[in-house]
């Protein structure tokens, strides 16, 4: 499955993305995580993703990003702060399972 992770500049999301990928792998889930900046999101989200994740520090953009995701038909989640760190991957994966479990199947 392909997941898109959006943060402000697309820099810090790489770190969280790596941690999420590792957690998914450990769980036997084949996951591809792409990073995006909030500016590029509108275009990128159209590229066939199963799930969009929003970094906690840009939660004030959530409504706008959700509109873009909705029109692309991609479910979108706001990452909880604890899941957004180099060692937060397993928390993030747990959050995805809880709030958007259907996309993992």
């Amino acid at each position: 499955m392909r997941v898109i992770l959006v943060c402000s500049g697309g820099m810090s999301s790489a770190i969280a993305a790596k941690s999420l990928k590792e957690a998914a792998q450990a769980d036997g889930i084949d996951m591809e995580v792409h990073e995006s900046s909030s500016v590029k999101f509108q275009e990128m989200v159209k590229e066939d993703y199963a799930l969009a994740l929003v970094a906690p520090q840009i939660r004030h953009h959530f409504d706008r990003l959700k509109k873009d995701a909705d029109s692309a038909g991609v479910p979108i989640l706001q990452i909880k702060p604890r899941g957004y760190s180099p060692i937060g991957g397993k928390f993030l994966l747990a959050q995805i399972k809880k709030e958007a479990g259907q996309v993992l199947k």
Partner: protein
């Protein structure tokens, strides 16, 4: 008690304020200006290279080469950073049009058109026979006449930071006119069979005509010099942003937002970045002609003295974590140190976490603010050069500070001093937090 207070602050203050920065015009300015940053960063490096001779041994052939070709080396700077508003306006018009779900390209072009119509090109005639006659035999005058361009000439300063605010305003007005014509249907519509790109160019004709008539009337027929009017209004704001209280306020707000886990730098930057760019460009153009640098605190001042390792001078936190004993803090410190070296601190902010953590709030506010005071005095006493260039923000602190101050090794030294200072400020609080973590880890161990 603390929890209730922070929830109150977040719901009533920080989140609404952050939402404010989502306002369409503010966002357009932010995105439009951010799009010009690559130009400004690369152009800054040309500025830095052109003035390397100041810090290299004079006897080197390389030094001599640079000094002889300074004008040529500075050309990219003149055609990019020096006239940055020309670029920013297009981006602002594009972003604003996009946010109204209009055609971005048309919005950018209309904005550029409106902006350029605020500038009156000078018409410089060729030297008349009489003048040429006077010049014969006078070598100095002949060279001068030959150097003067003829024809239409645009004053370049109006395309640079001096025109920033008029540029922003022009872009707003042009795109609002575009939006009005689209909404009211006051436009030339094509039958459906016409290809979309052609239809769009016809649709843009009405707003183009309105923009031209409006701006040309104001500039040429009413002869209103909007540039000097707007500049006299904005000048006090620009100089106010360059004072210590403003710097402390901006630094405080930046940490304040991040404490709630909101991207402080992007929120504060929405408002401050146009001002910072004006301050920076004034500095760099003074530097390029060898004059005294006028301003203290354009954006690089924050980046290389306050936000070392990221907002909140968290390089200090990353270093202090090396002394931690709890498993969690140790692991986090190891993984978060390298990103922190390159000023990426989300791992620390959300990992430690700093977000809603009362123990770490104090150094997260204090470290950058104390750094600000130290850097302010060091700079105003002339112990380090002032900021003249925008170095990429992901460079390690000392290198960034060296480049941004125009190759001043003392800038790098100040940066290192401030890293040590920040570490000392974080240290006691990190130890306190580490003890909490350690106690939790013990409990978990016993529970299992």
């Amino acid at each position: 008690m603390f929890d209730k207070f922070t929830v109150f602050l977040d719901e009533k203050l920080s989140t609404p304020m952050a939402k404010l920065s989502e306002q369409k015009h503010l966002r357009a300015v932010r995105d439009g200006i951010v799009a010009t940053l690559p130009i400004i960063i690369v152009a800054s490096m040309f500025l830095v290279i052109a003035f390397l001779p100041n810090s290299l041994p004079e006897s080197w052939g390389f030094t001599q080469f640079l000094a002889d070709n300074q004008f040529k080396i500075l050309l990219p700077y003149r055609m990019s950073m020096y006239i940055m508003t020309l670029y920013a306006v297009f981006g602002i018009g594009y972003s604003l049009a996009k946010s109204y779900e209009l055609d971005g390209l048309s919005g950018g072009i209309l904005a550029e058109l409106a902006y350029l119509l605020t500038i009156i090109p000078a018409i410089i005639p060729g030297a008349s026979e009489g003048v040429m006659e006077l010049a014969t035999g006078n070598a100095e005058l002949t060279t001068f006449i030959e150097a003067v361009p003829t024809g239409f000439v645009i004053p370049m300063a109006n395309l640079g930071s001096g025109g920033m605010f008029i540029g922003i305003l022009s872009a707003f007005i042009a795109v609002e006119i575009y939006r009005f014509t689209e909404r009211s249907g006051f436009k030339i519509s094509m039958p459906e069979q016409v290809p979309a790109s052609i239809a769009r160019s016809f649709e843009a004709m009405t707003p183009t005509a309105i923009v031209i008539l409006l701006f040309a009337t104001v500039t040429m027929w009413l002869e209103v010099d909007v540039h000097s009017i707007i500049n006299s209004i904005v000048a006090p704001l620009v100089s106010a942003s360059d004072t210590l209280p403003s710097i402390l306020l901006i630094t405080f707000l930046n940490s304040f937002f991040w404490f709630f886990g909101i991207h402080g730098a992007s929120i504060v930057g929405s408002i401050a970045r146009p001002l910072w760019l004006v301050l920076l460009e004034q500095n760099s153009s003074a530097y390029a002609i060898g004059e005294a640098i006028p301003n203290m605190a354009p954006e690089p001042f924050y980046q290389w003295y306050m936000y070392i390792g990221g907002s909140g001078a968290t390089i200090g936190l990353a270093l202090a974590l090396f002394f931690a004993k709890s498993q969690y803090a140790k692991t986090l410190g190891k993984t978060a140190f390298v990103p922190a070296l390159f000023n990426i601190n989300e791992p620390l902010i959300f990992g430690t976490p700093i977000v809603l953590n009362p123990t770490l709030l104090i150094p997260f506010l204090l470290a950058p603010m104390i750094n600000a005071v130290v850097a302010w005095f060091a700079t105003s006493l002339g112990l380090v050069n002032r900021m003249v260039a925008l170095a990429p923000w992901t460079l390690p602190g000392p290198i960034g500070a060296f480049l941004a101050t125009g190759n001043d090794w003392r800038g790098a030294l100040l940066n290192i001093f401030l890293i040590i200072l920040a570490t000392l400020i974080y240290y006691p609080f990190v130890m306190m937090y580490d003890r909490q973590l350690l106690a939790e880890e013990h409990e978990e161990l016993h529970e299992n």
